[in-house]
Symmetry: C2
Subunit: 263 residues, 2 copies
């Protein structure tokens, strides 16, 4: 396939530590496998170990160092029982990538299973329904337009209004009330595979991006290299999806890691 | 409040047996309590016990007897070979209510907690996101335009294509792919109260229609009349909602039931 590169548009992800960097490497590899013609950018913080930063440079066109932003909103985060999500405010840095005219942000716990470049046909702010409260979008995948002014407005808004869920999702939903809706196939959160099984069966072949939301990230599962299968207590549909993630990880990421890097 | 009645528009529900008739009575009472200015219609089958039919007449303007399976035309005859679509078929009867220019269908396991008449500002086909697979709508609440032609097309489609989930929801989603989306507050399925708790906290006061999807219908719970509270193993948010249902049932429906009617 002959793909004309589009240099002023980029997929963007974020990794503030080693584990999420493994996610970003797997996501980046899945994007390469999907034959995207857009640039790949990863935002990292100084906690990411430097051998992993080197490996990120082999997959991503741009590796950008940023500071951690924290919502300091422990009351709301406590509601979600996910105190570690405060760090996701760091996501807001993506609006500073003004060398690009348009970007698609992807959480680093996403896996691109089919080319998703037509997401770039949409404008800011386009996202996918959150299945927890479906008038909201899930902030794991979104189309945005980098702008220092938007970045500054977002920070002001965050400080003045906070976030109703203590994370970037609550903030972005309040800030972009007139968001446009893309199909669920661009951000299929894995719990959907069992919450409405006949629909999953009907539509799974059209899924383009799988998003492993929740505390049980694929990289925390044990994986049997010989059988090519995840071990432990997960549903059949979930294990199929986690195996897909591990296949990309084993084929594309693992060979680049050395023993000192990851235990 | 002085409400001008709109006689050519109606809320429509369905009850094929005693339990769902208790649901319909509670739903109908909640609609009256919401000061709706639309008519109330209930479709029933012959399985609904006659004292309950009498009581339904005190709440609903129109009580319409329909058959579970009807063999008056060829499409219906073909449907006889698909017994699993029987319940689906029964809901489709609502399109035959051509005395109305527009209707809102509500499952009888819904409870209207705030006036929802502005649903009638929408046209066919308007519905609310299903949180199982959010490119689909949930078929518990929808705006439609009665039409014998649509009714017949739906039957033909049901016979020829079936339903990807075996129920009316799969059928209607395939038949109305260009449906319009109403806010989740018009069909808040009860599981949403715990799947994204901060959003529920943020938006619960704007909820207008609660929908008790799933096998655990409110009428199957045990309720303590003295404490005004449901008993058993449910989450706090769910029990709040089930208590709301029971309050309407106890205040508006129970006094009309006599011992012979319901055990
Ligand atoms: O400690 C963290 C937590 C989050 N993230 C980034 O923020 C995103 C959102 O967090 P997460 O995916 O864990 O949230 P969920 O999708 O489970 O709600 C991640 O995908 C990462 O890109 C990160 O880099 N370090
Ligand atoms: O035995 C039945 C099953 C269903 N219904 C009607 O069909 C609707 C849809 O079924 P249900 O609400 O049980 O499905 P859910 O919303 O749980 O998916 C009900 O609300 C009733 O109006 C009925 O009358 N009798
Ligand atoms: Mn995520
Ligand atoms: Mn229902």
């Amino acid at each position: 396939m002959n793909v004309a590169r589009v240099h002023d548009q980029s997929y963007v992800t974020l990794a503030t530590n080693e584990n999420y960097a493994l996610g970003a490497l797997t996501l980046g590899s899945s994007l390469r496998n999907s034959n995207t013609n857009r640039s790949l950018t990863v935002l990292i913080t100084s906690q990411v170990p430097s051998p992993l930063v080197d490996q990120l440079r082999t997959v991503f066109d741009l590796v950008e160092l940023v500071d951690v932003l924290d919502s300091n909103d422990s009351a709301n985060l406590a509601l979600l029982k996910r105190p570690e999500l405060g760090v996701t405010f760091t996501k807001l840095h993506c609006w500073r990538l003004v060398q690009f005219s348009k970007c698609v942000f992807l959480d680093s716990d996403c896996l691109v299973v089919k080319n998703s470049d037509d997401l770039f046909d949409n404008d800011e702010f386009t996202a996918v329904t959150d299945i927890g409260w479906p008038d909201c979008f899930n902030s794991g995948v979104f189309v945005f337009r980098p702008s220092l002014q938007t970045y500054s407005s977002l920070l002001t808004y965050a400080v003045q209004q906070g976030s109703f869920d203590g994370g970037d999702q609550g903030l972005l939903n309040s800030f972009f009330p007139n968001w446009k809706r893309a199909s669920f196939v661009y951000n299929m959160t894995t719990n959907a595979s069992y919450s409405y099984a006949p629909a999953y069966k009907q539509f799974k072949d059209s899924v383009r991006i799988v998003h492993f939301i929740g505390a049980q990230k694929p990289w925390y599962h044990s994986y049997n290299l010989d059988s090519g299968s995840v071990m432990g207590n997960v549903t059949v549909h979930e294990s199929e999806l986690i195996n897909q993630w591990w296949k990309v990880f084993v084929d594309n990421v693992l060979p680049g890691l050395n023993e000192e890097t990851v235990s």
